[in-house]
């Protein structure tokens, strides 16, 4: 088994394209893109929150006090365009404040005076500006309302029956966990990507190059030949995973976590634990991919089968997304789901029970060994050797 293992590793490591795709681009792309996106989003949010708010006001003459107050709050009031609705649709403006002609009358009569805020909520960039405008207007409304009550000799607190205080027990780590929610998916897909090329190359690739038949004439049991291929594929998957985790852990240091008011709990200890947790998944992925690829008639056909398999590692992450629920013991028995959930708990900074780790490792390991046994029996089928069935 060892000679097969060594030879497959040497042969594939000599293929520059494989090394580049599997060991460099595959594991490094995700952390790079992630850090770029998060850094960009955070920067944008900070910019928008701190930038001076420009606000178009239509009918400013109807409420000069309000407009003056807005200016005092640092808002740059701009003159209105001819067609405010069109300006929003054309994305010339994010938010427009319109004060109707009925404003002064309602205001003096002490009735709620209507003001309109025009915006397009489906434009996500407008969200920050809209929130700032609404909060300013609420502030003005509350201030005037309290003055009115005081004028009538009523304490403003009477109008406030409840004061709601939400005590947020989330920690910087758990808030960071929200951002790292996709990490399990990236980890699992990295393992599958790492195993993919090797699984195809050592099985349907070997047959297509017509070197499988002579290989099987050598005097060792066929399951050992397959075993060597399986081990080599698993080793490649693990190497890819290790590179990916290291890259991620390192890349996160470049994020402005302090400004985000969160902590990303992916340090070396968590990375190593995640690696151990995902170890049996590497064997599982390799066995599944090898079984598929061995049945394919050509390298190309194998690639199309394997492409379909790539959605498997997505399933647990989607499930968690659609059905966010607490960790329950049965989940730690389900391969792929258990790894996803436990990694999520770890990046949230929770302590992981050793028993959970063990059940995840054992259940996934057993399934992986079963599939490995299936793979090991494949070369007893003549159809898979000669490619005619």
């Amino acid at each position: 088994m060892i000679p097969v293992f060594k030879k497959e590793l040497i042969e594939n490591l000599r293929d520059r394209r494989v090394v580049l795709n599997t060991l460099v681009l595959g594991p490094l792309a995700a952390p790079f893109i992630f850090v770029l996106i998060v850094a960009f989003t955070v920067q944008q949010a900070i910019d928008r929150a701190e930038a001076e708010l420009e606000l178009v006001v239509v009918g400013a003459e109807h409420a000069p006090n309000l407009v003056r107050w807005l200016t005092q709050q640092g808002v740059v009031v701009k003159d209105p365009p001819s067609d405010p609705e069109q300006a929003i649709r054309d994305e010339d403006e994010e938010v427009i404040l319109r004060i109707p002609a009925s404003f002064p009358e309602a205001w003096t009569a002490g009735r709620p005076a209507v003001v309109e805020v025009l915006t397009d909520r489906s434009r996500r960039y407008a969200g920050t500006s809209l929130a700032r405008v609404e909060s300013l207007l609420q502030g003005y409304s509350r201030q005037i309302g309290q003055l009115r009550l005081q004028l009538r000799g009523v304490t403003p607190e009477l109008s406030q029956a409840l004061r709601v205080q939400t005590v947020d027990l989330s920690t910087p780590e758990s808030r960071g966990g929200l951002i790292l929610a996709f990490l399990p998916y990236v980890v699992l897909i990295t393992v599958f990507i790492g195993a993919m090329h090797m699984a195809i190359d050592t099985t349907s690739g070997e047959r297509e190059r017509r070197s499988l038949e002579p290989l099987l004439i050598n005097p060792l049991p066929r399951w050992q030949i397959m075993g060597g291929k399986l081990l080599a594929t698993t080793a490649f998957a693990l190497a890819t995973l290790a590179i990916g985790l290291v890259a991620f852990t390192w890349a996160l240091k470049f994020l402005p976590t302090a400004q985000m008011d969160m902590a990303l709990n992916l340090d070396w200890r968590v990375a190593v634990t995640a690696f151990v947790l995902v170890l049996p998944v590497a064997l599982l992925a390799s066995a599944v991919l090898i079984i598929l690829a061995a049945f394919a008639k050509s390298f190309r056909e194998a690639q199309s089968y394997v492409g379909l398999i790539m959605f498997i590692p997505m399933i647990p992450s989607f499930w968690i997304l659609i059905n966010p629920s607490r960790l329950e013991t049965w989940m730690t028995w389900v391969p792929l789901l258990s790894q996803s959930i436990l990694i999520l708990e770890m990046v949230r900074g929770e302590t992981i029970q050793f028993a959970w780790m063990a059940t995840s490792f054992v259940s996934t390991g057993i399934l992986a060994l079963l599939l490995a046994a299936v793979a090991g029996s494949l070369y007893n089928r003549p159809g898979l050797i000669f490619g005619d069935g």
Partner: protein, 244 residues
Amino acid sequence: MIEARNLRKCFGKVVAVDDVSFRAEDGQITGLLGPNGAGKTTTLRMLYTLLQPDSGEMTVDGIDPRREPLAVKRRLGVVPDSRGLYDRLTARENVRYYGELHGLDRAAIDTRLQELIRVLDMGDFIDRRTQGFSQGQRVKVAIARAMIHDPRTVLLDEPSNGLDVMSTRALRGYLQELRREGRCVVLSTHIMQEVAALCDRIVIIARGRIAAEGTADRLLAQSGASTLEDAFVKLIGSDEGLLA
């Protein structure tokens, strides 16, 4: 020595090998001659254990490949129809890999490799990656890796396919060398001249059956023809597949 008796193998409804019996002695070259699709490759695949016969008996040096496939494989050197090499390994690494699969140690492999490089004249290209090798070079590497464990019995499936004249001559020289060393050599071919030039015994296979067996002289006498080619056509009853 190889003995096969009444071998039969079907793939679904197709009978690939119907009733094949022959002997191949040590120190002789035995040729399986027959048109394409006659069942030569299937017969060889049963001998080197990649296919199981549906019925019939066979032994290699008295060992039944079905009962002890690994023991038989250790005795056989096989150059199958598929001669795929690993392009990203050098010729030396390709051969060494097979030596390791046979469980030989590094020193034994290197000693044996030295000899094969000399006999097969591979010195010029032994340390080059096999990508871009000529057919002749590929066959030499395929032979070297089949012979790395010094097998007593050698099976070759259409070994001269795709070889130019010089490579074919070198191959014949090598097979005669194997015969001189007392090995049992079996080769399958559809090329008459090859059989006439090399083989001590000829086994003619057509449609999965043995059409005739014996020395070239005996086949000539049996068919009453004057050339081996005419004898062949007469014995298999048609010239179908001969030109392919």
